[in-house]
């Protein structure tokens, strides 16, 4: 029985391969269905059930492939991701412009403070110091946005890779791989405040080396 079933399956598969060199899973599913028909009576109920499940699996794979192939990956790689990164770049540019305008005004105030004396001068200088400190947000914001852009590019590369694997041709996006060396692992940018070490943690760590 096994030899008979095996021969029939091999024969039909060979026939399909000869006729259709680029056989797709739905063709394989057809073969399985046909073989199941010819094997009626030769298989037990359990074996028939297993083969039916294999057939269903083939259909599911074929359906998934069709859905992935239908994804508009070009929209993701050519429109959505570039749009998002452009928007983020614009945020950095605009915050830099605004920060520099604030700094220019602050420098003017500093010059004015230099011509004053006493409590007024001290108050003015204290205020400008606080403004300078606050303006450093632009640097941190820029570094965080750079990390987000990197993440978006990684997603873009992964999506293209998945579509190329399961859905046929798609544009090949090369992941932006930074030079891998021991220091690369140390370049992580700003950490989330909830988990980052603050200045006092760093001071304690440095002191532990003394």
């Amino acid at each position: 029985m096994v030899d008979h079933a095996g021969d029939a399956l091999a024969e039909r598969l060979a026939s399909i391969r000869a006729s259709y060199p680029g056989s797709e899973p739905d063709m394989v599913a057809d073969v399985v269905r046909a073989v199941l028909t010819t094997m009626s009576g030769d298989l037990s109920a359990k074996e028939t059930s297993v083969l039916a499940e294999v057939e269903e699996l083939g259909k599911t794979i074929a359906s998934a492939k069709a859905e992935i192939a239908a994804l508009r990956v070009d929209d993701i790689t050519e429109a959505h991701i570039p749009f998002a990164t452009d928007e983020l770049d614009a945020i950095v540019e605009h915050t830099a412009t605004a920060t520099n305008a604030i700094l220019s005004s602050c420098e003017t105030l500093d010059d004015v403070a230099g011509g004053l004396s006493g409590e007024s001068a001290a108050k003015l200088q204290d205020a400008t110091t606080r403004i300078y400190e606050a303006c450093s947000f632009q640097d941190i914001t820029g570094q965080r946005i750079t990390k987000v852009v990197g993440t978006l590019k990684a997603i873009e590369a992964k999506v293209a890779q998945i579509v190329a694997t399961f859905g046929g041709s798609s544009p090949q996006i090369r992941p932006n791989v930074a030079a891998v060396d021991s220091e690369a692992a140390l370049l992580n940018g700003p950490q989330h405040p909830a988990v980052a070490m603050d200045q006092s943690d760093i001071d304690r760590l440095l002191a532990s080396f003394e």
Binding site: I140, E183, L206
Partner: protein
């Protein structure tokens, strides 16, 4: 002995806004001779051409990072004794350890305030 505030200070950062902020904060504590560099390679060229009493550098820059700059400085016979403060958003333990092993004089995490900057400068110049 009071700190010689007329010394040349080199500040290194690839964000021009950050250079401007640090320059202004240094000016407020009377360090007026400040030069700027936008990456490690630019900084190294300026250090070798000039005479600086203090280096304040960011870490995350290209092509030469602040850590590589620190290593170059410590490997240079003429520059190796120059106090070096790392000012960076990199705040992981391994970063601080790597910087310390490379010979950093002190380490400031961004965002920082003027008081921290003044305090670390005084410490590395021997008055803290």
């Amino acid at each position: 002995m009071p700190i010689d505030k007329s010394m040349n200070v080199l500040i290194v950062d690839d964000y021009k806004t950050m250079l401007r902020i640090i320059r202004n904060l240094l000016k407020q504590i009377d360090f007026n001779n400040v030069e700027e560099a936008t990456d490690g390679a630019d900084a190294l060229a300026k250090l070798r051409a000039g005479n600086f009493g203090l280096i304040i550098s960011d870490w995350n820059m290209v092509p030469m990072t602040g850590l590589q700059l620190l290593q170059e400085v410590r490997a240079d016979a003429r520059l190796k004794a120059t106090p070096f403060i790392m000012v960076t958003a990199e705040s992981k333990t391994e970063n601080v350890v790597a910087a310390k092993q490379a010979g950093v004089s002190n380490y400031i995490v961004k965002p920082f305030n003027a008081e921290t900057l003044r305090d670390k400068i005084e410490k590395v110049l021997g008055h803290g």
